[in-house]
């Protein structure tokens, strides 16, 4: 394949990474933004989403779309509920004290990951996509006969991949509407601005925290369900999304949802494109160093507003 | 000779002028009170003297050295001591260790030398019988005394006290006034104070700050009779 079409495919793959990453990272971002909690176990909620999706689809016979639809709804709810339990019995008990919270969520990471290893096992397991029609993509070139469309071999995508991108956009728009236009969104934003004030105005901060932590985990699980037909479920699959979400949330400005989405697109796309040029290891080295240096020299993120 | 002086010192917070163009001079050996209504910029001003707050413009000179760009800890080791407006002690450490931490930085001698200094300071601030108590368990008044003790242990040339009598009982205030009189023999004192009784009984000279600028300066008697000060401040209390 020529360079141009190659890059085109890479950007398309990058867009899928970006879409899933945006969902996962926004989950991490609202948890940090509203609760000031750095959730190191976030990647495990992602992994659980994929594993539960595999479990549900393997239980339901018939057309793959049936099982998948159930999984798409049920997996985020189950994961969200689990997160609410973790919040109630761990984070709430230590008063969301920042350092202890990080240590406790590291503990949760190991507990969730290792429990999955004990039950689900070390194998990677596939989930069948509900629909998966290959579509060839056109490419243009200027040949002897002038401008022409061609269909290079290997330049293709699937309907499912395109659907993932569309679904992520829709979910993020719904989330955005909820956050900005509804009463529950208003309550969440009020809690973010000033927890004590919110309490004084009769907002049940504990309930908001439970809701936010559950929602954050559910978003990660949703991203995982969407991606699992492309990626397979595995008990260690939460590591990369965790790292990437951290990168995205930090670069986008801690707790800023629009910044996070913007950074997710940037990182996801460049992850796809960079891996064409660099080895994935080198790309990850650069990414981790980028996070460290952004935190050191530009702690409000590249897109964050300067706080006085 | 002046211990500390400022020239055109200012602090602006995104449009708000907390301190504006202050020229201030504190001669050696004086007890100076800095007064003014809430929000007059007193804490911001001494914050810039001590280096806790970075100034927006102007300069600070301490012991004839320009310290404008010097970090706080260096100013302290040059001979400044500072007590916080909100009591700030090492709550989990003993009274003795609190003062020893202050003394150790200033005295480079053996542990026994440090220990002697600590004990003499604790005598001065009436805490000699509480050396092994955990600082966080002390009463509020004793914690304030401990803070002053931590300042004393550094044998400072300039001692900045930010509202030291806030929250003290009447008898503790009397003890404090006595302490300032003793201290003023060896050290220059800058006192931010709301209690006018304390100010009138201790200060040699008073600076009145209002809206971030110097409204008046003079002896206690002069300030008492200054009509501007009365309308801005004294009249309202």
């Amino acid at each position: 394949m020529d360079f141009g079409p190659h890059l085109f495919v890479a950007s398309l793959e990058g867009a899928i990474t970006a879409a899933v990453l945006a969902l996962t990272a926004v989950g991490l971002s609202i948890v940090f933004g509203i609760m000031r909690v750095v959730n190191v176990a976030h990647g495990e909620f992602f992994m659980l989403g994929a594993v539960i999706a595999w479990w549900i689809t393997s239980l339901i016979a018939g057309h793959p779309a049936l099982g998948f639809t159930v999984a798409l709804i049920a997996a985020p709810i189950i994961v969200g509920a689990l997160a609410v339990i973790c919040n109630r019995f761990v984070l709430h008990k230590i008063n969301y004290e920042p350092e202890r919270t990080i240590v406790a969520t590291i503990g949760l990471l190991y507990v969730i990951q290792q429990t999955t290893l004990m039950t689900f096992g070390p194998e990677a397991r596939p989930v069948e996509a509900p629909f998966n029609k290959r579509i060839a993509l056109p490419w243009f070139e200027f040949g002897e006969s002038g401008f022409a469309l061609t269909w290079p071999w290997g330049l293709s995508t699937t309907t499912y991949k395109l659907a993932v991108i569309a679904a992520a956009v829709v979910i993020l728009l719904v989330l955005w509407t909820v956050m900005t236009r509804t009463k529950i969104g208003l309550i969440m934003r009020a809690t973010q601005l000033d927890q004590e004030m919110a309490q004084a105005y009769g907002i049940a901060v504990n309930k908001v925290y439970a809701l936010v932590f559950g929602l954050g985990a559910a978003l990660a699980a949703l991203g995982a369900v969407l991606v699992v037909p492309i990626q397979q479920a595995h008990y260690l699959m939460g590591d990369d999304p965790l790292l990437l979400s951290f990168i995205v949330v930090i670069i986008g400005g801690l707790g800023s949802v629009p910044g996070t989405v913007l950074a997710a697109v940037l990182i996801g796309m460049s992850d796809g494109i960079i891996s064409v040029f660099f080895t994935p290891t080198l790309a990850k080295i650069l990414a981790t160093l980028l996070v460290a240096f952004v935190l050191i020299f530009k702690p409000d993120g590249l897109f964050g507003k300067r706080r006085e | 000779m002046s211990i500390i002086s400022t020239h055109g010192l200012s602090k602006h917070y995104s449009g708000l002028r907390a301190v504006n163009n202050v020229d201030f001079d504190l001669p050696d050996g004086q007890v100076r009170a800095l007064i003014g209504p809430n929000g007059a910029g007193k804490t911001t001003f001494v914050g810039m003297l001590s280096g806790r707050i970075k100034s927006s413009a102007g300069s600070v000179s301490f012991l004839n050295t320009d310290v404008t760009d010097m970090p706080a800890h260096k100013r302290m080791s040059m001979g400044m001591a500072y007590t916080f407006q909100i009591t700030s002690v090492f709550a989990n450490l003993s009274v003795h260790e609190n003062v020893a931490l202050a003394a150790r930085r200033a005295i480079k001698g053996a542990p026994s030398v440090v220990n002697n200094k600590v004990m003499s300071v604790l005598e001065q601030v009436y805490l000699a019988d509480r050396t092994d108590q955990i600082a966080g368990d002390l009463s509020y008044g004793h914690q304030r005394l401990l803070e002053i003790g931590m300042g004393l242990a550094q044998s400072p040339r300039l001692f900045i006290l930010d509202e030291p009598t806030q929250g003290l009982s009447a008898s503790e205030v009397d003890g404090f006034i006595e302490l300032v009189r003793v201290l003023s023999k060896d050290t220059t004192i800058l006192l931010i104070e709301h209690n006018m009784d304390v100010v009138m009984r201790t200060a040699h000279y008073i600076t009145v700050l209002n809206f971030g600028e110097i409204l008046a300066e003079g002896t206690p008697a002069e300030i008492r009779s200054d009509t501007d000060v009365q309308t801005a401040y004294l009249g309202t209390t």
């Binding site: 004990m118 290891t281 | 002690v89 550094q154």
Partner: protein, 313 residues
């Protein structure tokens, strides 16, 4: 007895007990104990920063690996003598912790944790990236012939145990001494109330940087010792798990105590060792321990002991 004398007696007893252990314990356990002693040095190094200075790093695997690869690679590719390799390992740890400290200390709190985590992750990936030399996850073996220090074969159980014990004893004494020094007391002051310490005239940044370097170098010494005594260096020692383990040891044993790190390492090592006989998911224990400790015993075992016995250092 005054404080200093009590400290000498207590730490002397601990070391004497460890000497006796080698002759009392069956070989399997004394072999484990050699490993535990090296890991306890790692934990003590971690404790300098976390327990005494109050800085929570999530990147100490980087310092451990600096010592390990500084030593291992110089033996492997420069045919360095063990002594020279130890020096190179330590210098690597000093330099790496100095640079990381200089950069990471511009941040505080949660940002400091994330920055150290990211640097360590970058270090781990760098080990993988240069897999041609480091052999990545698989790692490389340091031959027995290259592990003879002053004519002593460190691959044998007895010399290996006592080499580990000597390193441990040196570090324990250093820390016991540090705790009573001006420097150590200043670190505690920073942990307790940083702003107050600054306004007493202490140079906070310099003290913190020193603490990172001491902590990192001690961790590096543990890494170098691990490679030399057990003859192996691999990327897993640079992975995030090895940043979490010292935190776990110290939390379990008791942060800011001299013998807490050893207690924590012994308990955790055997917890993981025993549970790994039953399941592959032995890290489950580590996770549960982290959660239970933060919930119920934030001061660890030595912290609980100290509450009952106020004289413990």
């Amino acid at each position: 007895m005054n404080q200093a004398a009590r400290s000498v007696v207590l730490h002397g007893l601990v070391i004497a007990l460890l000497v006796a252990m080698f002759f009392v314990l069956p070989e399997y356990h004394s072999g484990n104990l050699a490993r535990i002693l090296v890991l306890a040095v790692f934990a003590m190094g971690y404790n300098v920063l976390f327990g005494y200075t109050g800085l929570l790093s999530l990147g100490h695997a980087l310092f451990f690996a600096s010592g390990m690869y500084g030593l291992g690679l110089s033996i492997q590719f420069l045919s360095a003598s063990p002594m020279l390799a130890i020096v190179i390992g330590l210098i690597t740890a000093v330099v790496v912790s100095g640079v990381i400290g200089f950069l990471a200390l511009r941040t505080t709190g949660v940002a400091f944790m994330i920055v150290t985590l990211m640097f360590a992750q970058a270090g781990f990936l760098t080990v993988l990236f240069f897999g041609k030399y480091t052999r990545g996850d698989e790692g490389f073996v340091i031959q027995r012939a290259q592990r003879i220090l002053f004519g002593v074969d460190l691959s044998q159980p007895l010399p290996r145990y006592f080499a580990a014990l000597i390193l441990f004893a040196i570090c324990l004494c250093l820390i016991a001494w540090m705790v009573h020094s001006r420097f150590g007391k200043t670190l505690v002051a920073i942990r307790e109330n940083e702003e107050r310490a600054r306004m007493l005239g202490y140079d906070i940044q310099r003290h913190k940087l020193m603490a990172v370097i001491i902590s990192g170098t001690m961790s590096g010494a543990a890494g170098a010792a691990y490679a030399l005594l057990f003859g192996y260096a691999g990327a897993s020692f640079a992975a995030v798990q090895y940043s979490i383990l010292p935190l776990l040891y110290v939390l379990l044993g008791g942060a800011g105590t001299t013998i807490g790190p050893l207690i924590g390492t012994v308990f955790m090592f055997y917890l993981i060792d025993i549970s790994s006989e039953y399941t592959d998911a032995y890290l489950l224990i580590a996770g549960l321990a982290l959660i239970l400790l933060t919930l119920f015993a934030p001061h660890g075992i030595a912290g609980i002991l100290r509450k009952k016995l106020a004289w413990l250092p």
